[in-house]
């Protein structure tokens, strides 16, 4: 028997320009196989990773934003977004992709994955984790 640990992935950088955002997402999807208690946090420029309407045709990079919608299938259902980071960039939750998961236990009822939380709440959540990955 293995013990379930709390893993949080911090996403702080914009989606393109560096490989961090995509690498983080890949690690999350691979790590999901280990059935730990996984959450993602989007803060600072990381909130741009899950913004709607991404178009990478001008920069010769793959638009991987559709992959965030697969997180629910991988049973990654807790996506925390820091409210202050959105506000500082003039964004609201309506600018983000509507990411959901389907609860098999409730006949595949669709539920929101994104939870808006304050900087103070995020700090508290980070404190509760066993493992933090910062990307």
């Amino acid at each position: 028997m293995s013990v379930t640990k709390k893993f949080m992935y911090l996403n702080r950088r914009p989606p393109y320009g560096t490989i961090y955002a995509w690498e983080s997402l890949e690690v999350v999807l691979i790590g999901a196989a280990f059935e730990q208690d996984v959450s993602l946090a989007f803060l600072d420029d990381g909130v741009y990773q899950i913004i709607k309407g991404q178009d990478t045709s001008g920069i010769d990079m793959k638009n991987f934003s559709p992959t965030y919608s697969a997180l629910g299938d991988y049973e990654v259902t807790k996506l925390y977004v820091e409210r202050e980071s959105l506000e500082e960039r003039g964004l609201t939750v309506d600018d983000l992709m509507p990411l959901t998961w389907e609860d098999e236990a409730e006949d595949w009822a669709e539920k929101d994955s994104i939870q808006l939380i304050s900087r103070a709440e995020l700090a508290k959540l980070m404190d509760e984790q066993d493992v933090l990955f910062s990307f």
Partner: protein, 110 residues
């Protein structure tokens, strides 16, 4: 190592996955299956097409347990289980079916 299909040559990586997904055509799956000593029937194609649609939507090849669950939801519980999927794709429904479908190796298959 390239794979020859209908007189055309397609590049594959060291594990046999198609390098350029946009080049895929059904004949590639047929040839790959023959190399694995499999004959593709409608049941195989149902899963291969499902995987291509999944990739179109999410831009990744799903891990086998994600595939199993998604197939169960879309095609019914009698197909969404590993016994059924392994009976079609003995080398692993994630890896083998993704290869036939021209997708990369599944993300999260370890």
């Amino acid at each position: 190592m390239p794979i020859e299909v209908n007189g055309k040559s397609f590049e594959t990586d060291e594990e046999g996955y198609l390098v350029n997904l946009a080049e895929w055509e059904p004949g590639i799956a047929e040839v790959m299956a023959k190399q694995d000593e499999l004959e593709l029937n409608d049941e195989h194609w149902e899963i291969i097409n499902f995987l291509r649609e999944y990739y179109d939507e999410y831009q990744i090849a799903p891990a086998v347990r994600v595939l199993t669950k998604a197939v169960g939801k879309k095609l019914g519980k009698d197909k969404g289980n590993s016994k059924y999927l392994y009976s079609l794709f003995p080398y692993g429904p994630g890896k083998q079916a993704c290869r036939f479908a021209g997708l990369p190796k599944p993300t999260g298959c370890i």
